[in-house]
Symmetry: D2
Subunit: 328 residues, 4 copies
């Protein structure tokens, strides 16, 4: 029963994303506002199994809204995938008197939460925190907006040097399964070509596009490549391929890497996280469970976790078209 909720746990899980701290802060302060005790669970499911808990009051989350990373740490945890692992976690939660939890993370984290709540009928609400923006049920995930700005800032810098030397750059960005970062940051940075996992346009088209770009008088070219691109070559192989088949370019590679996960969150991510934290706690107190908080347009919505983890959000075809037109 919702009326019995006296203590709520909160944790971050999986890859960290900027804005997770703002979400933690929001969960903690909403609990304080509503007179509920809030317990921070460190290192995700790993810390849950080990009882790595700490009570958090409103002041304990001062000055974290603008910090990247997560003060609760994050981890991936194999053991929680086993029944035994989840039993350990349940025992620790029970021992601590935690009546429900809010999990901030992505698909993997939600899958674990779903298994857990099905086995133990434990109230659980999810908040989508991942830079990949690939969660069904929310138009935006916490951290995505910051990540695309980090990528665009980096490419703006690379563009400076690319233009000065008439170079072609392959820039690898995060996105193993989905191309949202690549597509949005690519359009935002004015990239000449964007290679994403959802599309395999083939190497021929890439060469054609680069030839056209050169012919049109552009002084440099930037090609964004998502990690999970299906063109069959990684970014270093792409460089070699183009150097061999299109020797008109001086080609360079840049792999942006983990800086994409960090940084002070943007205002958008801070506000989104603040709103979602309130909604998560209030949903638990309304007796809801097994749901994820999402945003559709400007309104918060709830989606069953089972739905949210079913598939990645699809890439926006219209945005691919915009990208093509912009490289005219």
């Amino acid at each position: 029963m919702a009326s019995e909720i006296k203590k709520i746990g909160v944790f971050t899980s999986g890859g960290d994303s900027p804005g997770m701290n703002a979400a933690i802060r929001s969960v903690v302060r909403t609990c304080a506002y509503l007179g509920i005790e809030c317990v921070g669970i460190y290192r995700g499911y790993q810390g849950m199994m080990e009882g790595d808990f700490k009570t958090l009051d409103a002041r304990s989350v001062n000055n974290i809204i603008n910090k990247g990373g997560t003060i609760l740490k994050s981890a991936r945890c194999e053991e929680f995938r086993t029944e035994k692992g989840r039993r350990k976690a349940y025992d620790q939660l029970t021992k601590e008197g935690i009546d429900a939890f809010v999990v901030i993370g992505g698909n993997g984290s939600f899958t674990g939460a779903l298994l857990f709540t099905e086995e133990y009928d434990f109230p659980v609400i999810g908040i989508p925190g991942t830079i990949d923006n690939d969660i069904l049920g929310s138009s935006y995930t916490i951290g995505f907006d910051t990540a695309i700005n980090t990528v665009v800032d980096a490419i703006d810098k690379i563009r400076d040097t690319a233009s000065s030397h008439n170079r072609l750059f392959f820039v690898e960005v995060m996105g193993r399964d989905v191309g949202h970062i690549a597509l949005n940051a690519g359009v935002g940075a004015g990239a000449e070509e964007i290679l994403i996992p959802e599309q395999n346009l083939g190497l021929e088209r890439l060469l054609d596009s680069l030839k056209r770009s050169k012919a049109s008088g552009k002084s440099s070219s930037i090609v964004i490549v998502a990690e999970g691109d299906k063109i069959g070559k990684n970014v270093f192989e792409l460089k070699e391929y183009v150097e061999e088949h299109l020797p008109i370019y001086d080609v360079r590679v840049s792999v942006l890497g983990h800086m994409q996960r960090g940084g002070n969150p943007t205002c958008f991510d801070r506000v989104l996280a603040s709103r979602m934290g309130v909604k998560a706690v209030e949903s638990i107190l309304e007796g809801k469970s097994n749901l994820m908080v999402g945003i559709k347009d400007t309104k918060l919505v709830l989606t069953p976790l089972a739905e949210a983890i079913k598939a990645h959000t699809e890439i926006d075809e219209e945005l691919i078209r915009v990208s093509d037109i912009m490289t005219t």
Copy 2:
């Protein structure tokens, strides 16, 4: 008839906002992609009346997607509000052979466009470019996302010095009629109190809130005040009032001013502007007119200009609540 459109004009009007250049670039490149001629109109309606035109090809908008301001300049124009002024503009457009135009601006700019198209049956599509985010028919306007990040960055800096000295700061942000910037940036910056035109909570409540904040052990307080706040005092009078009635604080004022209108646009604003530009040109070619391109959730939509200018978008009550809870 849409089939007769051979030349499209584009201009920016009213207060400038970051991302206007990305919108111009998008209109220009979409025209180039579709084989339509594109003409830049300088200084808004003023330049239109004076025939201040320049043909823009795809390369002429290189390297502007990441620049604040507008390469076409902007202006407010009294004369265009008169029939005589609009007649001048029409003559110039006709002389240049411009068949339709895309206006990038806010309410005032759209009102002018509406009058003009009603008088001359001239195809017009609007793109919402203003930092105020106050246009009905679009959840976001171009420049708003950049502006709230500029404000949040400034307040993050002010917070550093406020915390070091246990001070109370009143920070004035833009928003004469609407509090969207104040509310979003206020939540994003973790402000202790946010004063917006849509609400007049009274001075008593402000004092209470500041007392509570002090009592709760916070080392500093930031109060965001929208320009158009209705509490009856400007930000300097607020300072005096609080110093008199609540002498526990060392109070300072900061007026953020015009820097809020500038800066490199965020990825969100660049992508939004790129998408809207494509949609605007395509809508004209589909024979549409008197419409504004907007975004609802992740999809572009069209709204009659007459609807768009009717009223400001309302402030989100849920976000006000989030703001109250966060200051626990």
Copy 3:
């Protein structure tokens, strides 16, 4: 005797500046490295008189090198200017067993330190922490580099909107007695005119310069005004004066204010602060006192506090000349 130093106090005093935390961290870690105990003194001389102390070990300064403000807080303190106040402070230091202290601040803070050490023969080393860069004996003070970048970033943003509207902006920056921020940020931002306390060029020259700028075809003008400018008018009066005498401009004002004191310190300020902290502690252990650590070219040097507080550093005439040439 230096050999008897077992416990060193450290504090920040006066206006805060970015990089003070990096200096605190350096003092604390150098003490830890050398086996000396380090005590943080909160709120400057005020906290010293009240015994507001806390022992700091190497881990207590984790993750502060990149934070603006000062974790030890800062304050101005009237009482310490009295003999009685300094007696209180001495008693507290003695009670805590503090054998020497490092004061991070500006002229006012050093003046207090000098009085104190002369009265009580207490080992004292100063580190120049102020955004004003006005301390004799050091080519750079901690915080100056960050402050000029903050100003330049803000003006870059203002320039966007100034250019879009062909406006003239008066931008007031910090610097009550010295124009280092105004002059450096003005040259860095490409300002058309820079008004500093060290020069009074008169209003006529300003008008002439603005006329020339307009005539040369510039689309906007930015005039930087240091707070302490001696031209006889504040920035709002300047606006009115120019509007009256040079009605060709649409004039606006922006007062940058306290954001100039905050923000994540630049690499330069972090490195400078780290180096100065080491030098300060080592100097104390070498038996030195009444000295300020400074930097000349790339080397650290020591200057008697009595010298450092004698006068402000002079403005660089060559840089004024560069400024004049650049506005050609």
Copy 4:
């Protein structure tokens, strides 16, 4: 004779660096101020040999002081190393009537200039533009300050995610022959270990240091590695080595790459470039040649090009010591 100088050429050469545009602007405006014609030479020595020239007036360098890269493009040029190549260049310069040139670049560019001026007795002044800060005769080169801030910003972001996951990161930064970027950015970012070409501390020491760092309770570790580090392993091999020999860490690699060369220049670099440009032109007009403009402390100085290219500037031993102490 200096009195005969009527037309000065300016170009950028070698790897580009942020602030080169500010230096170009300064050379151009100083010429305009002094009534000398200024000609931009595109693509360095390559463009010189091809006669790729364009006259630049004061307005042609508007709005570039804050842009990374170089509007004159840059290139490396093999042919200029031959007598024949330099003859071509001389013929083009003569044909254009260029009486002297200012070269903005690094060691390689100065070596070419020196050969040229010795063969043709042609007035030449160098300005040190390189992110590496490795030029004898100047304490700072244009671009270095921006580059170390770019690196520190990136590492601040990486630190967020490193801390959240208790990870060890190897971050590779630029610096093939010299460790100035690595050392300064490493101290600025609070790196746990810094590996530079000038030192080979050995793999044992690295492992010891990492063990100590872990034992001291740090939640993450960042090791900065200069490209040219002599430890015998590249950054990916280092990762493997540490994973094998110190399995307590989850190790990741990040190669920052070419973004280090771009970005809006810092105020320091803009001011430095502005000052050096003035000095370069004035030196030519004073009849000087074969010299490089440098900065020592806050004053500009001139050094024979033959001296400047003799060796790299040495790493600061004191800063290495500071780095060691800070990782306590």
